[in-house]
Structures are given as structure tokens and as C-alpha cells.
Symmetry: C2
């Protein structure tokens, strides 16, 4: 399949593969902590929602005795960067050829459309073939609306995604591309 | 105590007391659902963070068998309104004369300062004496830094807070004042 090349992409050089063994969630947490420490942005992972079934008391403290993990209807990470609202989710796929769309819940897809409509910055961070990509929300939605398929071919992710390089102690500097997609800098100025 | 009147306040007329019996969290959830339905804003309550101690499996499904409620280091509600980042917390106090500052955790206070610094809109919704007030983050921080007290006198909240009226099915329209504090409209245009 051939996709129109909407934005001129920079050459993907020197990808650091040191992150191979690391969990994507840990890498993102490390990145967000770096942003927080350096006063660059305030981005947090939302707690996992749970449905509490049974609660008791131990020394006047509430203890949850039975609960289930529930599904987030928004994305896992959100926050504030240069006055702008930023939201994203992190997704892993073992597939080497296509990103299965059932990785993203229908209400999350609806939420991504909503964030775009209300002027927020929204994207997915996808780890595939040991490379971490940032796929901008509008490019993700545009694929869904145009191709009506059950998965996004790897070629599309390579074409539209921005490669995030891992840096020890700093994590993956995804805000570099948020600057770009959020309209903070021009492609030429980078 | 006499506080400088920073902003001309509108006359608080016709406060609807139908909300007296209602839980503040429910009122805010109702308001946020109204905003979502009417496509006005995307504001969600973050799930309560928990510390999971023990997990088992029941029919291949994870069940939490022991967990504790943890403290949110940010505020409970955040989201997106007109492209802007909005965050707030809801606080009740039984005291009729002053809002005890130990209602707000030190890391939440630090977070409020951070949100202000990064250009977000941040505030508290305080229910006191059966009236619901919106106290803008900068006014809250300004009190803390200026007066170094353990509680905010009710007079200060009356002076700086915006009264939120309850409306059946719509809840409290706090975005009316977010328009004001977020710089979307002038006080004169209201």
C-alpha cells in the first residue's frame, strides 16, 4: 500500500536500542519524571481504574478486599505542556507487520476524536519491531476513516510515525515531536 | 481581616439550594457529563489511585484481593476546554468560619503552583456553608504565600470565590468562571 507523505520526515539515524529490554510504561514514566524534574512539562499516568466490590477496615484504615481492574475510557497519560493539553496512550504490539486496532478500545478512539475536536494534542506511542514511534492522533484517525481496516500496516506507521530515541535517564523525548505537531515550531525551524 | 478586592464580583442572586442534600462529587460528575454530552468540554475525574498488595485469578480474570487507597499527588479532575488544560479538585468543609488547609496535601499545593507556572487553568471547588465556590488557583496560592495561616477564613473565600449555582441536570456551570479566569472573555463582556 502506498500512503501520501503528508509531512517531510527527518532521517532516522542512531536509534538507541538500549531500551529493548525495558518496559514501555517504565520508559514513559522515566521520561515524564525527567520532564517534571527539569520543569519542562507536567505529564502523569492516570491511575488504573478499578471497580471495588468489598471493603473492610483494619486499624481504622480502609482495605479493599475485592476489586476488579476496569477499562480506562480515556487515554492513560495526560497533562500540560506550554499551556496546552496533551494526552496519549502507550501500546505494544508483538506483530511485525501490522498494529491491530483492537489494541485501542472504541471509546478511546471516540475520545481521541474528541480531544482533536477540542484543540488538544493527542497521540499514540507505539512500540513495534523494537522501535518506538509517536503516531499523531489525526494520522491515526485518518487511517481509520480512510482505510476501514482491522490493523494499521507497519508501512503506514513508518511513514507517519516519528521515531523516538531512547536516552539514558531522560527516556524518550516525545515532546520534541509534540512541539512539531502542536504547532510550537515549524518543521523548517527544527 | 480585610482583603484587597482584586476583581469586581457579580451579585450573588438566586442561589439554588436544591443541591443541599447532594454529594459534591456527584454534582461535579453530573456537570462533567453535561459538558461531555453537549460537546462543551472533556473533563474527567481521575480514578482513585490504589496500592495493590495481592492479586489472584478467577476464570482467567485478575481479581484484586488486597489493596489500599492511596493519595493523589495531583488534583482529582482534569481535562480540556477550548484547547486549554483545566485541572481542579473538590473539597468539602464542615467548618463555617474557615477552610482548613490540611484539606489540601502539600504535593497538591506544589502541583497547583506547577500548573499555574505552565500556563494551565487550576482551581478548587469548595463547598462551605451550603454554598459552592470556585476559588481560582492563583488566589489560593496567593493566600498561602501572603498569610501563612493554617486555614482560609470564610471572608476570603466569599471575597475571592465565585459562587456556583446548581441547575437541575446541568449541575454547576463552573466553566462560566473558567471563561473568566482563563482569559477567554473580559469581565465586562459577561
Amino acid at each position: 500500500m502506498n500512503y501520501p507523505n503528508k509531512i517531510k520526515k527527518e532521517f532516522h539515524k542512531n536509534i538507541n536500542y538500549a531500551n529493548r529490554g525495558m518496559d514501555l510504561e517504565n520508559i514513559i514514566n522515566e521520561t515524564n519524571e525527567y520532564y517534571l524534574e527539569k520543569d519542562i512539562a507536567l505529564i502523569y499516568k492516570k491511575p488504573t481504574p478499578i471497580g471495588v466490590v468489598k471493603v473492610s477496615y483494619e486499624n481504622n484504615k480502609q482495605v479493599i478486599n475485592k476489586a476488579y481492574f476496569a477499562t480506562q475510557s480515556t487515554l492513560d497519560y495526560n497533562g500540560l505542556y506550554k499551556g496546552k493539553y496533551v494526552e496519549f496512550d502507550a501500546k505494544n504490539t508483538e506483530s511485525k507487520t501490522a498494529f491491530p486496532l483492537n489494541n485501542v478500545h472504541p471509546h478511546q478512539i471516540k475520545h481521541i476524536r474528541n480531544v482533536i475536536k477540542h484543540g488538544g494534542i493527542v497521540f499514540l506511542i507505539i512500540r513495534m519491531n523494537d522501535i518506538i514511534y509517536l503516531l499523531n492522533g489525526p494520522d491515526f484517525i485518518s487511517f481509520i476513516d480512510t482505510y476501514k481496516r482491522k490493523s494499521i500496516p507497519y508501512d503506514y506507521i513508518k511513514e507517519y510515525g516519528y521515531v523516538l530515541e531512547y536516552n539514558y535517564n531522560k527516556g524518550i523525548n516525545y515532546l520534541k515531536y509534540v512541539d512539531l505537531i502542536g504547532g510550537f515550531v515549524n518543521e523548517e525551524d527544527k
